[in-house]
């Protein structure tokens, strides 16, 4: 990874935006009733951290994200491998999947609510259903795009079918599978927040909505920015993890 050069213009821009915001609110130039200045947001943030409330909500969301992601990856990889290796499975399953895939997972939320009420189950069902797709598609695509050459190599070296699959084909498909899992994680966070806003009164999503309803704009904004930073941190961590996992593979230009 290239050394991170300190981005002076970028940092200055952000500081300028924050400064402008502070000034605009304090001086009354901007007339939004409920827009708090950044200083108030910062203070609220400190309070939430100290009281442990933000931590509690974060733990809930992260737990749901982790469980959902692991489940979605497991199912997605399993199905993806099946579809990737078996032309028969593709012939009899693909059209149904293609019809289901574009259905917005959000639309399933009321249904999940009907079936499972306000609970963690609802949240997990939504997360898993939505997050399966990137993993499935990328795994299937990854397996199918392994060139015939590698199969020939396995055969000319007289490797057993199992050995060929495990030692040659799967590692070759690994980069695509890892990308699928990475895309899935971002989606997991989004779906968790959606579920928490509508169907499970816990976690960061719920916190944002409840602060809105309690007319606490500083705390709401504190949560909003925290979620943004969390998303960036998660993505960064994941990019690092996938780089480590694929460290032996040739340097890939696709991220």
């Amino acid at each position: 990874m290239p050394a991170l050069k300190f981005n002076l213009p970028g940092t200055l821009t952000i500081l300028a935006v924050v400064g402008l915001w502070e000034f605009a609110v304090r001086s009354g130039a901007v007339a939004f009733d409920y827009l708090p200045p950044p200083s108030a947001v910062f203070v609220a943030w400190g309070g939430l951290l100290l009281s442990g409330e933000m931590l509690m909500q974060t733990v809930h969301t992260l737990r749901a994200v982790l469980i959902g992601w692991v489940l979605a990856s497991a199912i997605g990889i399993g199905l993806g491998l099946l579809l990737g290796f078996s032309a028969w499975a593709r012939r009899y399953l693909l059209a149904s999947l293609e019809l289901l895939r574009p259905l917005p997972a959000v639309a399933f939320l009321p249904l999940a609510l009907l079936l499972f009420n306000f609970s963690l189950t609802t949240e997990l069902v939504l997360i898993v259903y939505a997050s399966i797709w990137p993993v499935l598609i990328n795994t299937m695509g990854g397996v199918m795009s392994v060139g015939t050459q590698l199969y020939d190599v396995g055969r000319t070296l007289r490797l057993s079918r199992a050995r060929t699959l495990i030692k040659v084909i799967l590692p070759a498909a690994a980069p695509a599978i890892v990308v699928g899992c990475r895309l899935s994680l971002g989606l997991t966070l989004v779906m968790a927040i959606i579920a928490e806003m509508l169907a499970n009164p816990h976690g960061l999503g719920y916190a944002v909505v409840s602060e809105l309803q309690a007319m606490q704009p500083q705390r709401m904004f504190a949560y909003v920015f925290f979620i943004g930073l969390l998303a960036i941190a998660l993505n960064g961590a994941l990019i690092g993890a996938s780089r480590w996992f694929l460290r032996d593979h040739a340097v890939s230009s696709h991220e």
Binding site: I14, P102, V106, G205
Partner: protein, 265 residues
């Protein structure tokens, strides 16, 4: 004439998976219909879904909701396309702009879309414009970032060609820069379209502003499960139609560009 039609249809359907693949879905629906409890609050059979959709059509609940959702979505996409495309071009062509705005844009892009809704509600109140602005805001980012990236990677060679032919700025823009960024712009749009549908529904669900999303939530609160399932199918069809239209438009537009390697969504 028949030959040409068959060829065109063949081209359109070439990428589709074999129709046999619909069997599991049809089978599941058939079994559900045959063995599902008629008046179950949790799993009403497909015939009940159809009945409820018809009822909603007849008593004038469905069409206005559908119209509201579609109109908001379409308008928001137009705004996002124009603003995202224009800004993307401007930012992409300027190195300082890219460096200065980079972190800010990354933050905005990384911010999970659902979080925008409460912020917008706080600032704008429950107005119709809220829906439009939120969807437009969310849809702008993929378009803007993809266009900016393409604009920044423009082959210097092409710009040299423009200079050699002494083309003025407007012509350069029209004939050289725009065609070069169109494929990536469309890629951003391809991400933005399904995202736009999702966010439109989400806003409706969260704020109960009129639309299919709020219709589903209302049905869920009234425990009208057949309505919920039926509306789910309607949403699915809506999404399918929109995505197909977009895919066809994309095909038409990209006719003259060299084919790209198979993209995985």
């Amino acid at each position: 004439m028949n030959e040409r039609w068959r060829f065109q249809i063949g081209r359109l359907t070439a990428g589709l998976p074999p129709a046999r693949g619909l069997l599991p879905l049809l089978l599941a629906l058939a079994l559900w219909q045959a063995f599902g409890p008629r008046h179950s609050p949790y799993a009403p059979p497909p015939s009940a879904w159809w009945d409820s959709v018809r009822t909603m059509l007849q008593n004038g609940k469905l069409m206005p909701a559908l119209a509201s959702t579609l109109v908001t979505f379409a308008l928001a996409m137009v705004i996002a396309t124009i603003v995202g495309g224009a800004l993307g071009l401007l930012i992409g062509r300027s190195r300082t702009a890219r460096r200065a705005l980079g972190p800010l844009l990354e933050f905005c892009r990384g911010l999970p879309p659902p979080v925008i809704v409460p912020v917008a509600v706080l600032l704008l109140g429950y107005a119709e414009s809220l829906k439009l602005l939120v969807v437009a805001w969310v849809a702008i980012w993929p378009i803007l970032l993809n266009t900016a990236s393409a604009a920044s990677l423009l082959d210097e060679l092409m710009l040299d060609i423009a200079r050699t032919f002494r083309l003025d700025r407007l012509t350069t823009l029209r004939k050289i820069i725009l065609p070069a960024v169109v494929p990536d712009f469309l890629l951003g749009l391809r991400v933005a379209v399904p995202l736009g549908i999702i966010i439109t529904l989400l806003v409706e669900m969260l704020t109960s502003l009129p639309g299919i999303g709020s219709l589903i939530v209302i049905s869920q609160r009234q425990f009208r499960s057949a309505d919920v399932y039926g509306l789910l199918v309607v949403v699915g069809l809506m999404g399918f139609v929109i995505n197909s239209l977009f895919a066809m438009a994309e095909q038409l537009l990209l006719r003259r560009w060299p084919p790209r390697a198979q993209e995985m969504r």
